[in-house]
């Protein structure tokens, strides 16, 4: 335990960095994923804006990028990060790449959860003369809110998981801390401390997600 005490300030910084990376990635990836997911959902045959070619293109893009293991994606997307955010290393680069990866993952989760909205409810909205944009905003999204919250909760946990490899491109956070001060220094207690913080974080996020979803489901 003694070896952990001097490292506590660093653990605090690492925790802050992980939160910083996860929150910003969730923000960018969440919005991007919502838009791409809505694109997948609405262009599908029989949906609000059926468009076979566009759906096929979006579908292929998501299918190509989503299965790439993040640690490889991080390395492969480095030139793109340099191009877009001007730097290929550090927390800024990892937030960019993590957001991008999250867009593809979240889009599928959004699409799946929107698919659970009963077509009859959409038909009812159409039958009273609601426009398609109004239907998306006032029917589709509110009706799917409960499952969407659970889906985003799942993603936050996945982002915390993915952010742990930030060290590969010089980023910080709990993953980097655990490897650098725990694993490489042969101090398992330090690693375990990082693990404990992550467990507490994940529990807290899941608790909050469940709470909000329960409110949305009203049960």
């Amino acid at each position: 335990m003694d070896e952990l005490v001097p490292l506590l300030p660093r653990l605090g910084v690492a925790t802050y960095e992980t939160l910083y990376i996860v929150v910003l990635s969730l923000l960018f990836g969440g919005v991007g994923g919502l838009i791409l997911g809505l694109g997948l959902y609405t262009t599908r045959a029989g949906s609000l804006y059926p468009n076979k070619p566009l759906f096929a293109v979006l579908n292929v893009i998501v299918n190509v990028f989503r299965p790439i293991p993040f640690i490889i994606f991080l390395a492969a997307a480095q030139p793109l990060a340099r191009l877009v955010v001007g730097i290929g290393i550090g927390n800024t680069a990892i937030i960019f790449t993590l957001s991008l990866a999250a867009v593809f993952a979240i889009s599928r989760i959004v699409e799946q959860n929107l698919m659970t909205v009963r077509p009859g409810v959409i038909e009812a909205a159409r039958s009273v003369g609601a426009s398609r944009l109004r239907i998306i905003l006032t029917v589709v999204l509110p009706e799917a809110l409960g499952p969407l919250i659970l889906g985003y909760t799942f993603i936050v946990v996945a982002l915390a998981d993915m952010s742990a490899v930030a060290g590969l491109v010089g980023g910080g956070g709990l993953g980097t801390f655990a490897i650098q001060y725990g694993y490489r220094q042969f101090e398992p207690v330090v690693t375990w401390a990082a693990v404990l913080v992550i467990i507490i974080f994940v529990q807290g996020v899941q608790f909050l997600g469940n709470f909000l979803a329960r409110k949305a489901f009203r049960r």
Binding site: G120, E123, A124, A130, E143
Partner: protein
């Protein structure tokens, strides 16, 4: 001019795969529905009636033909004009299709918000509608807290929110138990009588037509095979599919299976006499049979009432000389419908 006119309306869906044929849901339908009618469209699942009703408010576009509402062809309207048209056509559904994420109040308010109704007017209208359907105390509840019948009443209130002239009811009572069905049907009857709303009812249940409709069209494989006044179609169905529907609610016409059982149990000839309002009297029939020395036994029958008009069917087993029976039956056939079932023909030979 009829309120709703369908002229050679067709609807087909493209083939699901390269090897399959396109699916024709509606294969050339002509219908005229007058303002104030409760028009029933009955048919088995897959007869095309749910598709047909969606062509009226253009939730589905027609493949060919025209749907005229007040003389305006809806297939020629753009998306924006269609949305305006739909504000004047309410619709209720078998599965109610309420917005689960919205309260009863907000469900009913939804069409009013689409119509950009000012807030005070909106609140007054929703309160009025909830009172009409008897759910004034449920405004703040969510659909999941309601029973099936209550949900459909919310559906009706929502459909009526913008004071439409036409209400489309797509199997509106098919998910309800008989008692709740009765409740919802009497509510729809009030909608027709108190507000003068023209109602188009899609159903596979003949008793819905019997209680509610004044006109009926029978659909079979995408076509209307028979249409007319409900009493006419009920008391004298011409087409086989109409006859099968009528038999589900009209007591007194034995099914083919029942007929063959009756033949096994009873000697002699099995004859069904169909009475309609004012056509012949049952007493006279029995008297004549007795006078002709023909033995008779009442084996099946019933009298029905459709919107105040009565008709009935009596099935008799007749024993006696064939010639005497033929003479009497020929005389009956002058005023009432006589159907004799023979063992070779389970459907019965029409001698009237």
């Amino acid at each position: 001019m009829p309120l709703v006119s369908l002229r050679d309306v067709r609807k087909s869906y493209p083939a699901a795969s390269k090897n399959s044929e396109p699916v024709t849901a509606v294969a050339g339908v002509d219908l005229d529905i007058d303002a104030g009618d409760v028009f029933g469209i009955i048919g088995y699942s897959g007869a095309g009636k749910s598709t047909l009703v969606r062509l009226i408010n253009a939730l589905e576009p027609v493949t060919s033909g025209s749907v005229l509402i007040d003389g305006v062809d809806v297939s020629k309207l753009g998306e924006k004009e269609l949305r305006k048209l739909r504000l004047g056509i309410g619709m209720i559904f078998q599965q109610f299709n309420l917005f689960d994420s919205k309260t009863v109040f907000n469900n009913v308010a939804y069409p009013l918000r689409v119509a950009r109704t000012p807030k005070p007017e909106l609140q007054r209208r929703v309160a009025e509608l909830l009172k009409f359907v008897g759910l004034a105390d449920k405004a703040g509840n969510y659909p999941e807290q309601l029973s099936g019948g209550q949900k459909q009443r919310v559906g009706i209130a929502r459909a009526l929110a913008t004071s439409p002239r036409i209400l489309l009811a797509d199997e509106a009572t098919s998910a309800l138990d008989p008692e709740t069905t009765h409740e919802v049907l009497s509510l729809l009857k009030r909608v027709n009588e108190e507000f003068g709303v023209t109602i188009i009812v899609i159903t596979h249940e003949m008793d819905v037509i019997q209680t509610l409709a004044n006109k009926v069209a029978v659909m079979d494989r995408g076509r209307v095979v028979e249409q007319g006044d409900v009493f006419e179609v009920f008391s004298r169905p011409r087409e086989a599919s109409s006859q099968r529907f009528v038999a589900t609610v009209v007591r007194g016409v034995p099914s083919p299976a029942e007929l063959s059982q009756l033949r096994e149990r009873h000697p002699g000839r099995i004859v069904t006499l169909s009475f309609r309002d004012g056509s012949g009297s049952q007493g006279a029939v029995f008297l004549e049979l007795a006078q002709a020395g023909i033995g008779f036994e009442l084996v099946y029958g019933g009298i029905n009432d459709i919107r105040g008009q009565a008709f009935g069917h009596l099935t008799l087993a007749l024993t006696g000389a064939d010639a005497a029976i033929d003479t009497v039956l020929a005389r009956f056939a002058e005023t009432i419908e006589v159907t004799e079932s023979t063992s070779s023909d389970t459907k019965g030979a029409d001698r009237g």
